[in-house]
Symmetry: C2
DNA sequence: CTGAAAGCGCTTACAG
DNA sequence: CTGAAAGCGCTTACAG
């Protein structure tokens, strides 16, 4: 509750100017006499001084905060990426503020304004909704980074993630190769560009859009379960289901188990993400592996590297991989 | 990339002083003439002005950032609490910075210093390691809040969470009531005060410490699995296992399944937390329900309410509940 | 190697 | 209802 000591307190106690104290704390100690260093160190220590990031940020017109906006922080894969990013940012001296948009455009825009208020060094969006405010910010600030889902057409900003279209395509082709029938694509919300890219890729892969049953769905087990119940009860068939993420796949599987269906004999299920839970909870799930742990380093690199020119298309495309296990 | 407009730019464009613009943005608009308000609003809008939190924080000697330190952000229950807290803080105009201590004392202390540097409004610790720096901060800043695990003896700071000792006690008594034998307590790391409180409670509940096999363990499925394998292979028995959290219980269960053991006939498993995954992944797990969603509001309330006196024991004890399902 | 001074973007007590 | 001015905690170009 006591007011924290300032640079002036340290200067006073060690008998030097604030300039010298500042140099000590901003890594310019090699231009200070050893004896001076020592007295500053001591004074700072005895006062328990930690430089104020606020003063520093104001002076440098730049903060060390990066804001990450996610549609749903309770989604495991989203959280995995967030953890990876937080850790990589810490490595370069930055803090991460995490905020939930709840898949809500107005909420996203509000948080975008907050991030602007914090003068965030960068804003990382995992699944952005295309709004005028978003576009304005991209154009004016140029410090937005899109992660995992590519931004909508016409937004020029760096993207870190896999090529969702290619991944969908690969799954579609795999379906053809294996001779699967009764295609179902449970795809993510249409307002995310990345969701539709996966879907479009898949449809291209199987080659016949009219034969793909497309179901839009939130990225949750609950939703996967409900879609499955409806489908399996209304018109039971040997479906081949491409799920927009692993959680949907878990839900679908649950419904299948309840109906005593065997996978992959009675039903084919393909997931997406290969989240950390699979190893323990769904080692049977065939899925697309997205390298969650590579997001952090890639994003950190993007933030550290200054923008080259006006056009900012410095995307980092991470590799994906089809993890073929039992379910497909 | 353009430098963001400042309060001065808005003042200039609308022909008023910065004081007036400031009043407009800090909710003192009722003391401004309607016409003035309108011109400020317009000017701000046309410039795309968002007040700088940095300038504001410096002036007010108070930031709107709350730092949350967690031992392991990939732990689901930890993440659930973090989500709840983030959402409640947003409701009162605060941002949350999340950081991982990785169960490492030095890392925790470093992050504590960072939080101090950010002049965090509050620091929330989910599982703190008892270090001199932590104690110093509690004494000097008085803005630390302990969540889910009570601070070590002698640290006077608010705590939000269940009474871990009582919860452990209730489980121990339940074991006695049901006549369970071969007690095993797989407890969390000893450097967390909350872990030992649960264990101590359990031991009190069964009433005979010498008959409890105590195994220290990280809070992971992997660790639960490994403990189980060792135990079940070395000396197979009908164990009654109290797991420090649900993840450990999942791991234990997995090992049991691999050995064709039936729960609860061949093995009794009791979890802790009742995390969000149980509903889908382990609806059979008997566990202690900790109300994750109540942490956010409780912590927000604590932050909003000014400290009463010198002694700060304003803890909020949340209710827990034994969720008896099949496994015990 | 060191210091005096200006200024980053705000808010608010004071005066009118 | 409004403005001039001081000051929050820093950093750095400049001068010595």
């Amino acid at each position: 509750m006591t007011k924290p000591p300032t640079i002036r307190d340290v200067a006073r106690l060690s008998g030097v100017s604030t300039a010298t104290v500042s140099r000590y704390f901003s890594g310019k100690a090699d231009a200070i006499a050893p004896r001076t260093i020592e007295s500053v160190r001591q004074a700072a220590k005895s006062l328990g001084y930690t430089p104020s990031e606020i003063g520093r940020s104001l002076r440098l017109a730049q903060s060390r905060v990066v804001v990450m906006l996610v549609p749903d922080a309770t989604n495991h894969f989203t959280a995995d990426i967030a953890v990876s990013v937080e850790s990589a940012l810490k490595g370069i001296g930055l803090s991460m503020v995490l905020a939930n948009t709840g898949e809500n455009a107005a909420q996203q825009d509000r948080l975008l304004a907050d991030a602007q208020g914090l003068r965030a060094r960068a804003i990382v969006l995992q699944g952005a909704i295309d709004t005028p405010r978003l576009r304005e910010l991209v154009a004016k600030q140029g410090n937005l980074i899109f992660a995992n889902r590519r931004p909508a057409q016409g937004i020029v900003a760096p993207y870190v993630g896999i090529d969702n279209f290619q991944a969908g395509l690969a799954v579609g082709r795999y379906f053809i190769e294996r001779g699967y029938e009764n295609w179902v694509a449970i795809h993510g919300p249409r307002h995310y560009f990345g969701s539709t890219a996966r879907l479009d890729g898949f449809v291209s892969g199987v080659g016949d859009a009219s034969r793909v049953l497309q179901l839009e769905s939130p990225y949750t087990m609950q939703a996967g379960y409900e879609h499955a119940c409806r489908l399996l009860d209304l018109e039971p068939k040997k479906y081949s289901v491409f799920c927009a993420n692993d959680m949907i796949a878990y839900g679908f599987y649950r419904a299948a188990m309840e109906r005593n269906l065997r996978v992959p004999d009675d039903l084919v299920i393909f997931g997406f993400d290969d989240n950390r839970l699979n190893e323990w909870l769904a080692p049977w799930l065939t899925t697309v592996k997205v390298p969650a742990l590579e997001f952090g380093p890639a994003i950190a690199k993007l933030i550290e590297t200054p923008k080259p020119g006006f056009e900012d298309g410095r995307s980092i495309i991470l590799p994906f991989e089809l993890k073929v296990r039992q379910s497909a």
